[in-house]
Symmetry: D2
Subunit: 221 residues, 4 copies
């Protein structure tokens, strides 16, 4: 009797999971916080999935907070991500870890950036989430590497690429994609206005560009 | 039968705890890392307890790592503190959170300092540890508040005092004690050499001074 | 004949100088740039002199530019000060030399601050100007030395006091006066709103307070 | 009689100048301060001129001081450069203007860097010196623009290139030359050890490389 009841419960739970849409959490900073607004990259991804008739297969959840660095993600991971039992987590962080070195003296040392990132991945994987790493796109869109913090942003992006390789995780290399796009579409070497409004945050073109880049990562598997 | 066995086990475990010396962890940065060496404040505390015939009542454990800030403590708390099942934890942190703003652009914002500190306390208390907060003593020993980062260090110390009050926790106010000592013993307004070797790290007098200040907190209860 | 003409010319020039009002230049940053507006401390000083019937004895000239540090003053001294052949020059600088360390990584090292200040004084004195040194008042009005940059601002103010003593120059110690005022009038330990609008720039009370402090320096000799 | 004496004096002075070796001052920071030592780039330039039989045609003078930024050059220009009545002045500055933003919060804002540089050129030209501008070579030799301050250093180098163009002055583009050299000779993307000992200061190869680059600028005209 009891065994039978247990089996039925298990089947029901499994069914709930099977029928449950795939839950995708976007974990990041102000860029991701804005992404759930109309025109934001998460909103666009949801629309794209709906247009392809996959709207009910996915549940996209924004978990971005302005000013966040890698260690802020670590602090709020349990409440804001793990509590949602995600199937997939995009980690899109790093701009503030670099930027705040110059604006407020409170950036993140490279070795600690990697240390917290590793710990974050370990905990997300322990909760059975598929983790997708993103490189921080830009702090300034000039294409000749003369944006003030290009050197550091290149370094941190490389650390993330190394991490993806080391942990065998998918990499959504926004920084590389943004640079390639700007090399074609920013002949005037402007520091903003191509994919961003203000050197960092995405304009409409930028939000669509990120949505396009992330789409295949969302629908993989 | 089973109940009896359980009760016996419980008694045995309790007995083990009762006989176990009180375990005190000192959780901090390079100042605490150096404190377990000969002449360090933890070594001195151990010696003081032994001299008073209380050597077997306490087990003092250093858990300091150079360069640590509040969020580094949070990251390694489980492995380095909770795993040791401490009865008491001194949290002695804050110098690098302020200092690194100037030396490497990687200090800690005040609001995030408090946020991580709160989370740390909550987890330590959940593990039944008695938590004792320490203010960061000095970055420079000049007594006229002209050490470069005195303003910020005063602010962070006040945040810790407020936190102790809000959480009803004992406060070991090293910053206040160091200033009072220097006002009496540093008539030349020197920036180092009174209680520190280099504006930050403790000399022999400084280690004894800290040990004296902490002694009553260790033996309380 | 020629000698006679020369003597006449000399007398005429001297007369022009004798009748000329005493020219006082206020050389500084944004605080001084705003001081020539209605309600500003220079405007108030002019009004005070007029009320005492001394309006025609003095010509007060603002030479403040926002964001200036000591070396900016040195660069534009010839055009903006010496060209006006001043009798008296107030040097009111130092806030940005300290502040910009934190806001943009472009403050001024203490030893270079002194070096440029010395060179500035030497050139102003060579042009027969009486030089009056001012300490930078505040970056934050809290009275417990917990404004973030109090330590550094205290240090630079002390360097200016030492300089005044070494060069035997009058010192208008705004920093000391502001602190004394706040100790009496800022019981809530607020960081702005007592003498400043925004921790740095003067409100009406602050402008009057500075005008009152400077008045006797203007009218001395 | 008097006219004759004057003419003779004039001829003698002219002769002195005609026979005088061309005086070349290297005006810069610690890189140039070290350049007069054995093996340094100025010492090498002198040796190269001697080997070509031009040793008596040139007098090379080092005027480098460690830690100098553009405004430090401006402050000491009269004593250290103009007093030597140079025919040619190499201005080799910019590393500390960028570097100190990160190491001590006391770098130089881009607009002020240009302002002081313009003023320096104007004064040097007024003294009839031929001015040669150099870009700051490297802070780190990695070739993928991931040295932390590459972005800023690229920006300041571009400002110097623009300045050379605007003022129609010869440009010794060390930064471009160093990058080209490293792209060929630093396949391991090391941050030091190719042309520098420590990411900034020149090793033997670096000193010879700079001497080779500067040689034609010295002997031009």
């Amino acid at each position: 009797m009891r065994l039978a009841a247990l089996l039925i419960a298990l089947v029901m739970v499994s069914a709930a999971f099977i029928n449950r849409p795939k839950r995708v959490v976007f974990f990041g900073d102000s860029i991701t916080q804005a992404a759930v607004k109309p025109g934001g990259y998460i909103t666009r991804l949801t629309d794209m999935l709906t247009q392809k008739g996959k709207g009910s297969d996915y549940e996209l959840i924004g978990a971005g907070i302005g000013g966040n660095k890698i260690y802020d993600l670590y602090l709020r991971m349990e409440n804001d991500v793990l509590a949602k039992q995600p199937d997939v987590v995009f980690v899109y962080i790093g701009v503030n870890d670099v930027w705040h070195k110059r604006t407020s003296g409170t950036g993140t040392d490279a070795n600690k950036f990697v240390g917290f990132y590793e710990a974050l991945i370990t905990k997300l994987q322990a909760a059975n989430a598929r983790v997708i790493l993103c490189t921080p796109a830009v702090i300034g869109e000039k294409t000749d590497f003369s944006n003030e913090q290009d050197g550091d942003l290149n370094q941190y992006s490389q650390l993330i690429r190394d991490l993806a390789k080391r942990r065998n995780l998918p990499l959504c290399d926004l920084r590389k994609a943004f640079l390639d796009y700007n090399l074609k579409n920013n002949p005037g070497n402007k520091e903003q206005g191509i994919l961003t409004t203000d050197r960092v945050h995405l304009n409409d073109t930028g939000n669509q560009f990120v949505a396009d880049l992330m789409y295949s990562f969302v629908t993989a598997n």
